[in-house]
């Protein structure tokens, strides 16, 4: 406790700035912040501007303006049903990705270390990776009917091979010399795996998790839309049936927002935690 406070104090001392330099330091920090977020803000403004131009050119029936879409989003979010749609989609994606991680990463780790298993699973993973997501939607609807299970199964089947291949690649491309180093200092197989190999595997796998999440959301919306069961995809199907373009766009925007929330709330911190060292920064 005392050591923690001491460290905190030392850190605060390093951050302390003399009053005469305060304004200058503040300006420098503001400049850095603007340099970091400025390009992103310009990009978003450009996108909204083009969207507005599209609205001017084609009218609100074809392409509602950003403002109209914003109002529709507020309308959806003002009801518990709206939040339920988001929660349903996110939960299905989460459940499916949980299964995919369990099977894909688990089998990937085993295959990375066992050449025979890798050889056996190589054609299977290639075939599964090549299967179009729409084919899975149709198949699972035949197998399970239009249900939650069919959606979860579809997402899991599309994302599992991606995680599997990513994990195998991560295992194979790790720096084995570091494990030799650990062995020379007496580390057993489990310690070498957990303290040296896994750290590298997770760092290589981290970018794949972002891609998998994005794919998971896309497939979820498509499967929900085709199965017309529930979630944002189901609501999108209903909006299409009613030709309600405002709501349709609102659901699309909410899907993107949900994806970004999970991405920035979970995936990016995870990627930073496990992969920052690869980009040459302090963790």
């Amino acid at each position: 406790m005392r050591a923690g406070l001491k460290a905190l104090g030392a850190r605060a001392d390093r951050l302390r700035v003399p009053p005469e330099e305060l304004v200058e330091t503040g300006l420098v920090l503001l400049g850095r912040w603007l340099w970091r977020v400025g390009p992103g803000i310009i990009g978003v403004a450009l996108f909204l501007g083009l969207w507005q131009l599209g609205n001017r050119a084609y009218g609100s029936f074809i392409l509602p303006s950003p403002l109209e879409t914003g109002r529709a989003i507020l309308g959806v979010l003002s009801s518990p049903e709206g939040w339920g749609l988001i929660a349903g989609t996110v939960a299905r994606v989460g459940l499916a990705l949980g299964f995919a991680a369990l099977i894909g990463v688990g089998l990937g780790l085993a295959s990375g270390y066992a050449r025979l298993l890798r050889g056996i699973l190589a054609p299977v993973s290639t075939i599964l990776l090549g299967m179009p997501a729409t084919a899975w939607v149709i198949l699972t609807m035949i197998w399970f009917g239009p249900s939650h299970a069919s959606i979860v199964f579809t997402i899991a089947m599309v994302t599992t091979p991606l995680l599997y291949i990513g994990t195998v690649d991560a295992v194979l491309t790790r720096d084995r010399r570091l494990e030799d180093m650990a062995a020379a200092f007496g580390a057993g197989p489990w310690r070498r795996f957990s303290n040296v190999a896994l750290r590298q595997i997770l760092a290589t796998l981290a970018p794949v998790t972002g891609i998998t999440l994005a794919l998971g959301f896309k497939v979820a919306i498509m499967a929900e839309l085709v199965a017309n069961v529930a979630g944002l995809g189901g609501a999108l199907a209903t909006a299409r049936a009613h030709m309600d373009i405002d709501r349709g766009l609102a659901y699309v925007a909410m899907t993107v927002a949900a994806l970004l929330s999970v991405e920035y709330g979970l995936i990016r911190p995870f990627q930073r935690r496990v992969g920052q060292w690869k980009r040459g920064g302090l963790i």
């Binding site: 030799d180 650990a182 200092f185 060292w277 040459g280 963790i283």
Partner: protein
């Protein structure tokens, strides 16, 4: 008593024998340099001595409490600071973090690393500093035997000499013996009490040289004269002088750092 005994060690990769009946005994506190041309199996022998590889046949007797190892290209964990790298083997031993950190800082001091260096990541350190961290990591476990596998091969000559002096100084200060793998006879003559010569095809130790005096007490001129004399007149070193990389088959010429680790 801190000595290493290798008895008729034989090892093969994918059916290709790289070491055959290699026997070597190091005396307590003695630093033995093992020289041999590329592909002779020096690093394989170091890996066997360190317990990284298990020999196909033969015996390895480690008559010491604990060994440390310094590798070629340092092999620092890229996600750990210098301090974390030095403490790594201690944490692997199950030591608590505070104690491991204190011991790491003590080892860092022994190799003249500054406290400010310890917060740096490996890619923020120069080759020489990385070598110091690697030596500190090996010292942190308080070894009574140290294995060096061409640790300074990637450094420039001036830096290499500074690192050699550091090894000589630490060896004298802590009294550890060791095995120093190198293909550079000058380096061997500077740091070692005795120089064992490995056959170019790994067919055992073909002989040994003993430069006069002890490491640290030898004058540069004497080391130079010794190297000149032995390189030109000693048939034991013929393969070290006349190594022909074309004569090595591909497997044998492979990178010792690669996954096959065959040399």
């Amino acid at each position: 008593m801190s000595k290493l005994v290798l008895v008729t060690v034989t090892h093969a990769f994918d059916g290709r024998t790289v070491l055959r009946d290699v026997s070597l005994v190091t005396q307590p506190g003695e630093m033995v340099a093992l020289v041999g041309p590329s592909g002779s199996g020096k690093s394989t022998l170091a890996a066997i001595a360190a317990g990284i590889l298990r020999p196909q046949s033969g015996r390895v007797m480690r008559l010491y409490q604990r060994h440390g190892m310094v590798f070629q290209q340092s092999r620092l964990l890229p996600w750990e600071t210098a301090r974390g790298n030095i403490a790594f083997p201690l944490l692997m031993d199950g030591m608590n973090k505070a104690e491991a950190t204190a011991r790491a800082e003590e080892a860092a001091l022994a190799v003249a690393l500054l406290p400010s260096d310890l917060d740096k990541m490996p890619d923020q350190l120069s080759g020489g500093m990385q070598a110091r961290v690697a030596i500190a990591r090996a010292l942190a476990v308080k070894p009574d035997f140290l294995i060096f596998d061409e640790p300074f091969a990637a450094l420039d000559p001036a830096l290499r000499r500074r690192m050699q002096d550091l090894v000589i100084d630490l060896s004298a200060r802590y009294g550890f013996g060791g095995l120093f793998i190198t293909h550079d006879l000058s380096e061997a003559a500077r740091v070692a009490d005795r120089i064992a010569v490995l056959d170019r095809k790994g067919d055992g130790i073909i002989g040994a040289l003993t430069p006069e005096g002890t490491p640290g007490a030898r004058r540069e001129a004497d080391i130079f004269a010794f190297v000149q004399r032995e390189m030109t007149g000693n048939p034991l070193l013929a393969d070290l002088v006349n190594v022909d990389e074309r004569a090595l088959d591909y497997d044998c010429a492979c990178d010792t750092l690669g996954p096959r680790r065959c040399c």
